[in-house]
Symmetry: C2
Subunit: 217 residues, 2 copies
Amino acid sequence: MRAGSNPVMHSEPSRGGKGAAILAAARQEFLGGGFGAVSMDVIARAASVSKATVYAHFTSKEELFGAVVADMSERYFRGFSASELDPVDVAASLTTIARRFLELVLSPEAVALNRIIIGEVSRFPALGEVFWQAGPERSRVQIEIFMRRAAAAGTLAITDPREAAEQFASLVRGEIHLRHLLRLEPVHAAASADAAASAVATFLRAFGHGTGAPAAG
Amino acid sequence: MRAGSNPVMHSEPSRGGKGAAILAAARQEFLGGGFGAVSMDVIARAASVSKATVYAHFTSKEELFGAVVADMSERYFRGFSASELDPVDVAASLTTIARRFLELVLSPEAVALNRIIIGEVSRFPALGEVFWQAGPERSRVQIEIFMRRAAAAGTLAITDPREAAEQFASLVRGEIHLRHLLRLEPVHAAASADAAASAVATFLRAFGHGTGAPAAG
DNA sequence: GTCTATACAGTGATAGAC
DNA sequence: GTCTATCACTGTATAGAC
C-alpha cells in the first residue's frame, strides 16, 4: 500500500511504522464518527500505541484531523479522468463519465469524508476549500475538458463548456448524493446505473444533436 | 413570535417561557457549532436559566438536539409551494420556482441545519429521514405537481413527472448548494439568480416546446 | 419548576523514566 | 520515540433546598 509516498501532506510525520499506523487509525475513527465523537484515547488504542506517541507525531487533535482530511481528499479523487473517451460517440462517453463520477462520489469513503467535512467546516473553515479543490473542482475540470472536445467535434451544442460541465455533474449527482450524505440510501448499484442513464438522457435532450430533439414542435 | 403554537413537536416541553427559551437558545447554539462543540452549560447561559432547568425540560443533550432538529425541519420548509403558478407560461413559472427553491435551500438557517444533520447523522441516524421528508421530499413533491400540470397543459414534454422534478431540482441546486454547505460561497444574490436562470434554460432545452429546440440539427 | 452546588466520568495534553 | 502515570479541566447529569 505504501501510504507514505505522497509529499503533499503538510504535517510530515515520520512515516515509518507508527506514524502511518496512527494516521490510518485516525482516518478510520474520524470517518466513522466525526471529530467530536472520537477521542485521542480511542485513536491511540486503534493504532496500538500510547496516547503520548500520538502526540509525538501530531501536536493536537485538530492537526491530526486536518492531516487525515487533507490526505484523504488528495487520495480519493485522483483517478478521475475522461481523457481517453471518444467525443464523437457522445452518448456512450457521457454514460461512462456519469458512472465513474457516481462510483467515486457515492463510494463509502468519499461520502464519509464529505460528511465529516461538512459537519466540521464551522470549526475548521479551511477544510472546505481543500476538499473542494481536490474533489468537485477537479472532477468538474475533467468533465469540462470532455465538453470542449465534444463541442469541437460538433457532437454537443454547447456554448459554455464550464456551465455545461457543472450542469451535467449536477444532473448526475441528482438527489442520490444528498440521500447518501443523509444515510438514506441502501447503496444499490442498480440505482446508480439508472441515475446515470436518465441524467445522460436529459443532458442529451438539451445539448445533443439528432437524438434529443423534442418529439412534437 | 409565538414559538410554541406548533403541536408537531414530540418531546412536548412545557412551552411557557423557559421551555421555549431553552429550545430557542439550543437552536441558535447548535446551528452555529454543531452537536459536539456546544455544551449544555453554554445553552443554559444563553437561555438565562440554570443547567438543572434545562434537564427539567429535556432529559438529555441528545433529546434536546433531536427536538431542535425536528422543530427546525418542520418550520423551515413549510412555505414552499408552486400551486398558484401558471403552467402555460412555463418559463416564467419555472424561474419563479427555481428562485423560491434557491432562496429556501440557500438560506443561512437551512444551510446550517442541513450541515449539522449531515455531520451528526452517524450519531443520530433517525434525523436524516426526518430532514428528508420535511425538506427535499416535500419541495420535490411541490415541483412534481407543477410538472404534471404543465405536462397536461402541453407546455412541457415530460413522460415521468417525478424524475423531471428531481432533475429540475438537481439542476437548480447545482454546485452552489454544496459550496454553501462547505462555506465557500459569499452568498451573493446575483449568483443565485444566474444559477436559477441557466438551470431553467437548460431544462427548457430538454423538455420545452419551441423555445428549446437545438439550433442546428 | 427553579435554583446552587456537586458528583463523577472522560477529555486533551504533558512529565519523566527508559 | 515510546511508554506509564497523571495533570488540569470540562462535560453531562443529579441532589437537595426553596
